[in-house]
Amino acid sequence: MNQRNRQLGPETLGRLTLDTEPWLSCDDCFDQVDQYVERVFGRGPVGMPAMAAHLAGCPACAEEAGTLVLLAAEDAGTDPGPALDRLFGPVRR
């Protein structure tokens, strides 16, 4: 069996050991992402910590949520920047 070398930098170490509690599945993330995306456009607390944790730990779901933010921003005629910044919650960014 081949042994392949990998380099582990600080970013990779961080992603390997990321705290993704509270638990949320990809299916549940999909079910809730529209609600979550509309919350990040507001000014108040976003809530839904499990969504923030999941998006921080799942690049695929995060990528899709980002597009949803862009689409919702285009519909509303607003800048998506602040909403994108709030997508992953306060601690992990």
Binding site: M1, N2, Q3, R4, N5, R6, Q7, L8, G9, P10, E11, T12, L13, G14, R15, L16, T17, L18, D19, T20, E21, W23, S25, C26, D27, F30, V33, D34, Q35, V37, E38, H54, G57, C58, P59, A60, E63, E64, G66, T67, L68, L70, L71, A72, E74, D75, A76, G77, V91, R92
Partner: protein
């Protein structure tokens, strides 16, 4: 809330069925209004799919514009079928359009990743993990120590399955849906394995006193 009035956030022109829109009702009642709603919904799906594909353009190196458009159109078609099958699950916790977009976004993203990885191997073999690239003098010892601690934890704390999943997803950046397809499993199952593996690593590294340093380096602390 499925009804939107002109005072709420504006819809794109393609999304407007009437001045006051009730998507669920319009899509549910057979007749000309339903036909019109279907056309406008498909336009939304296509817009969302194209947006997702556009964002992922960098991973589609060498893929022609015709195939890119085919990906978007097929994703929109499939997303629309899925959405119509789940129309009764819309609970009004978001705008209908936001809820609808996610079906097309998911379909398009999955399709793009599949195309991007169709000719790439996914390795689930053993590996040696080294410290980070180009460490600065004085930093090498610490960086190497942390990498060694994580490597040791990967070997001692995880099952072989967890270790292979974690390395593929996090170190090799294999997209989760691509890996799921290759392994004949689901995105959910892989994310659960990853989540549990992270918990085990964190618990171990907390005991060995390395977790704070890793979090600090990663910018979490």
């Amino acid at each position: 809330m499925t009804t939107l009035d002109p005072g709420s956030a504006p819809l794109s022109p393609a999304a407007t069925v009437e001045g006051v829109v009730d998507w669920v009702e319009a899509l549910s009642m057979p007749g000309p209004r339903q036909d019109d709603a279907h056309r406008q919904l498909h336009a939304l799906m296509l817009r969302a799919a194209r947006r997702q594909v556009q964002r992922m353009q960098p991973v589609l190196n060498g893929v022609g514009t015709q195939l890119v458009e085919e990906i978007a159109n097929q994703a929109a078609d499939e997303a629309m079928m899925t959405l119509l099958g789940k129309l009764g699950t819309f609970e009004g916790r978001s705008r209908f359009t936001t809820w609808a977009y996610k079906f097309a976004v998911l379909q398009a993203a999955t399709a793009v990743r599949s195309v991007a990885w169709r000719d790439r191997d996914v390795h689930l073999d053993g590996l040696d993990l080294l410290a980070g690239d180009d460490p600065q003098p004085g930093q090498y010892a610490e960086a190497s120590d942390l990498a060694d601690a994580v490597r040791s934890a990967l070997d001692s704390e995880l099952s072989p399955h967890q270790r292979r999943i974690m390395v593929a997803l996090v170190v090799d950046d294999v997209p989760i849906d691509v890996l799921a397809e290759r392994l004949g499993t689901t995105r959910n199952a892989l994310y659960k394995a990853l989540h549990d593996a992270r918990k085990r690593l964190r618990a171990h590294l907390r005991r060995t006193g390395h977790l704070d340093d890793i979090d600090t380096q990663a910018g979490i602390r």
